[in-house]
Symmetry: C2
Subunit: 388 residues, 2 copies
């Protein structure tokens, strides 16, 4: 097992009717910025629940944080906080709103141009330099409600940049699974596949001796496979919804990657498909993941076989056979989750995608991605072309 | 899934040669109480490693915290801290030393008689009212390194009382699996069984819809079953030692019980065996656990069958058959771990044990223990007599 540090001070508040606890969770005598996205919280009743819980508090609202939140939008909130002496931020939304609030939190007291936080991929560790924030999660997917990472897009340069740091854990996150009832099917499909792929990135590497970590990862994968297709059809089923929400948090709250190698190449390639064709993040992962496993078969086959046996109950006469079946089962699952796993099914003009992505990676000097840094530009080309 | 809150701010630092990080983890310019137990840290080199990492810091030592730490002993440390203006405590030891330090931490600033903390089973939530502390774990078993609970014995009245609260999480815990190399076999056996039973208390209840929680619990059980007997024989094998240490923490760091019913009746009965006959805590659990499953078979059989299938790969024609086999497999495992699962194998004068324990529970007004409060005094009698 590799050495690791596990630190996660977020107070995670899970269950029905937990939004009422906001009254006790937000600080008293502090002006609060209520940050949200495109307005779905007005339709599903979350806005009303939040406002009721916060009656008596001084609140300034900031709506309109977009999917793939933009630096330019967020800087407007930074100005409001500075001008109005706001001391706490409440993010009400999904991963985009929460990621956006993490940037706002870090930017307010930043000395210099806050764009540097992104350009230099800074790690914000000093609690005294951020505005504290909490979250009310409305869309389970990214795990941002219980981690300290964030991805922000700079509109001007069309760059999608990550930053984070231990000062950027939410103080609290309220996760009420009933929010899933009113989500569009497509968002539930995406959320399950996003969570599933988060686990795979931290698990599907090579066989190692962190026995418990593997089994916890497999626990989340098994649960998502078990409930994923059903929760899309029955989002009012609390058993399904609660397991989905908890799995999505556990998939990326910093527990799974402790002591083990991680991959993340599927995300690196998938991000480019989103940038090029505005393919939903989760759908880009569903296109790339299985083909990455195929192209990197030699280095991943042992783990694929373990995954196949333990998650899908696959049997076979050889590691190769079990590993191949495991990839097929993964694609089956993605199809059941409504994913279209070919690039050509998601966009019309895909012919030059591999050239473009490989050129971009080479520009950045990326010689090899993945847990063994062996997903070379040539392998990336093969993966992307296999995805057409 | 039941509503829950998950909060755990301990910075958990795991791996080889991590004790050197103490230099950065303890606060600067603060006098430190270095608390430890009977002196094993002098033999295994931990004391030297700690002192080296803390060279330049002002340290006051307090040794002699005993197994089942005593209120009377700990109050001596409280006096030292008050007299010498000490601002941080470093617990170097196993669960007893860490539990003891939690009490010291809570008692120093307590207004009134600190014995009330125990007698009233207080929940200490106010960070400003405790002395912060960190730990260096030398014996994986209790999970105290990453939770906020503590059990203290009052010598005068021979009471073993629990308290805790969110202010009593360690600031950090350094867990280096190489400490296991020098542990006596009996302590490793006990540590594995203690961790195993912690999981069972939070898992082996009734079937419910918290799918992921069940699987995480099973992950720890599977791992302990896989490595437990081997780590006793090969404590220098880092793969075995690191998985054991990480499982012991995860077994009781507050994750497993989220959203699920919990039992703890085995502990309640086992505690009495320890009080009566000084049977090691883990060994008392090994005596009681399987007989509790037998006596409570009707309410636990579905979960026992699930446990048998998933942890031991048991197959059978009925729930009852699988559940019975699961109990047998559990006893087999406990035997492999060096446990003697009959009371008569652990003490000579056991004939009146059931009478005594039932009388004690009735004195306390305990009408029913366990996840369904249906382990009545009559059932307790049956369980204890079955354990003879």
């Amino acid at each position: 097992m590799l050495n690791f540090e596990l630190y996660n001070p977020t107070n995670y508040v899970f269950g029905k009717e937990q939004i009422t606890k906001l009254t006790d969770l937000v600080p008293k005598n502090t002006k609060i910025l209520l940050a949200y996205g495109g307005g779905s919280i007005f339709k599903n009743g979350i806005y009303d629940q939040v406002k009721t819980a916060l009656s008596g508090f001084e609140i300034v609202e900031f709506g309109g944080i977009e999917p793939n939140p933009r630096y330019e939008t967020l800087m407007n909130a930074v100005e409001i906080i500075r001008a109005q002496n706001i001391g706490f931020i409440l993010a009400v939304g999904g991963g985009s709103v929460i990621d956006g609030v993490k940037f706002i939190s870090a930017a307010v007291k930043f000395e210099g141009n806050p764009m540097e936080i992104l350009k230099k991929r800074m790690s914000i560790k000093d609690i005294s330099q951020v505005i504290p924030f909490g979250t009310v999660l409305t869309l389970p997917a990214t795990g941002s409600e219980m981690n300290s990472g964030s991805v922000i897009t700079i509109n001007e340069t069309q760059e999608k940049l990550a930053f984070g740091g231990s000062a950027l854990f939410p103080k609290f996150s309220i996760c009420d699974p009933t929010v899933i009832e009113s989500l569009p099917k497509r968002q539930i499909q995406n959320g399950v596949v996003d969570a599933f792929t988060h686990v795979m990135e931290q698990y599907l590497t090579y066989t190692h001796d962190a026995l418990l970590q593997d089994r916890i990862a497999e626990s989340i994968l098994q649960t998502l496979v078990e409930i994923g297709p059903s929760v899309v059809e029955n989002p009012t089923d609390y058993k399904l919804a609660s397991n989905y929400m908890w799995c999505a948090t556990m998939a990326l709250n910093g527990l799974l990657n402790k002591g083990v190698p991680t991959d993340w190449a599927t995300h690196m390639i998938g991000h480019e498909l989103t940038a090029l064709y505005e393919i939903d993040h989760a759908r880009s992962l569903a296109i790339i993941g299985p083909n990455l496993y195929r192209v990197m078969f030699d280095t991943k086959k042992d783990k694929l076989a373990q995954y196949g046996e333990r998650v899908f109950g696959i049997q076979g006469n050889s590691v190769e056979e079990k590993a191949e079946k495991a990839i097929e089962k993964t694609v089956d699952f993605l199809h059941k989750m409504g994913m279209l796993t070919k690039l050509s099914e998601n966009t019309a003009n895909y012919e030059n995608t591999a050239d473009f992505i490989v050129a971009r990676f080479e520009e950045r000097g990326w010689k090899g991605l993945g847990e063994q840094q062996n997903v070379t530009p040539e392998k990336v080309r093969e993966i992307v072309e296999m995805s057409y």
